[in-house]
Symmetry: C2
């Protein structure tokens, strides 16, 4: 389908642009493009303006580097949030995931990725220095490392633990790994199941957590 | 996930716009939006300009109503195409599908839909009058009805056959229906399989066709 001939260069270009988005093939790109073509001109302008405005006007919080409309994001600026706890995450999607649980009331620190020598991403490419500065400024009691459970995530956790070693009063924690709620033991991988046995918790404690 | 709180109104708006596209849920919309956010500003502007330009500048061929950059599309303007055959299709996607087969060298007529009383689409909403005019102008020897094999497609075929009744010299044909190439008889629905038996062709003829 890639050498498909389109009857219009404008159509061709719009489809190609859509097909550059991740997970969008040319068939889907054509379907989306033809859908937009059927909409009001105003609706298409609204769609495209929302993208350029986001790209050109969005800010990143100067404290936690989360996406924001203001210099300091709503979470960092909220006096009701617990400023003594920082949850370190890889990206904005992780912030949204943690926020959705409704279980976390501290602040965040968005690294913008994880250390990955294979992809040429070193500590200097991430917001690691600013994390150390936040901890050094004082008032932080706990740093929760909530990176994705991959080798790169573990490497980054190790790097952060070394950088924060001069602050022994700051508690360093990681997300509990274990069997997913609603999951079947039969289909849980053995590493996860193994960790969930080693890190088993008292029934009374588990009930408190929920 | 629909009542998810986004840290930025600009992000919220862009995600909502993406999520209005068919088949794009909010999770995918967020992924696409954050992807664009990581691109150069110029790339995002190019993407969004390609959509608004398509919507505002695209033309429809005044002969066959296919999408086009010019008043008369490349297919209608091509002297090498057989102007005595018109393939009637529902939409632009069908034109691309038939063109992709490389088996058709005539012209097209894009109806812009099919007659569907349930959706409030009557003959007047489609390019049916202009099809009759093209046939009435003379020079057409065959009209191939290549609508999707649905009840609405069949209704439209019947309507066209009535409208073209005054031109008995024009041959009216429909696409052959039968077992898909590479398909298993076991999984072919009985209506299709039944028609493929009734309309069976000589082996020699079938080989010629390929």
């Amino acid at each position: 389908m890639t050498n498909e001939q389109y009857p219009s260069k404008l159509l061709e270009r719009a489809v190609s642009e859509f097909a550059r988005l991740p997970g969008i093939g040319r068939k889907t790109a054509l379907r989306l493009t033809l859908h937009l073509l059927r909409q009001d001109s105003a609706a298409v302008h609204a769609f495209s303006e929302s993208l350029t405005r986001l790209r050109d006007e969005v800010k990143y919080c100067r404290v936690c580097h989360n996406i924001s409309d203001t210099d300091v994001c709503d979470i960092c600026a909220n006096p009701l949030r617990d400023a003594s706890t920082i949850c370190v995450v890889e990206n904005i999607r992780s912030v949204l995931s943690v926020e959705n649980t409704g279980q976390y009331h501290g602040l965040y620190h968005v690294l913008g990725g994880v250390i990955s020598p294979m992809d040429g991403i070193g500590p200097a490419d991430l917001e690691l220095e600013s994390l150390v500065e936040r901890v050094a400024a004082g008032g932080v009691r706990e740093v929760i490392l909530a990176l994705n459970p991959t080798m790169e995530g573990d490497t980054t956790n190790f790097y952060i633990s070394r950088k924060l070693a001069p602050y022994p009063d700051v508690r360093l924690t990681v997300l509990a790994r274990g069997v997913s709620v609603g999951d079947d033991l039969e289909y849980t991988d053995e590493v996860t199941l193994g960790r969930s046995i080693v890190n088993r918790v008292e029934l009374a404690q588990e009930k408190n957590g929920l």
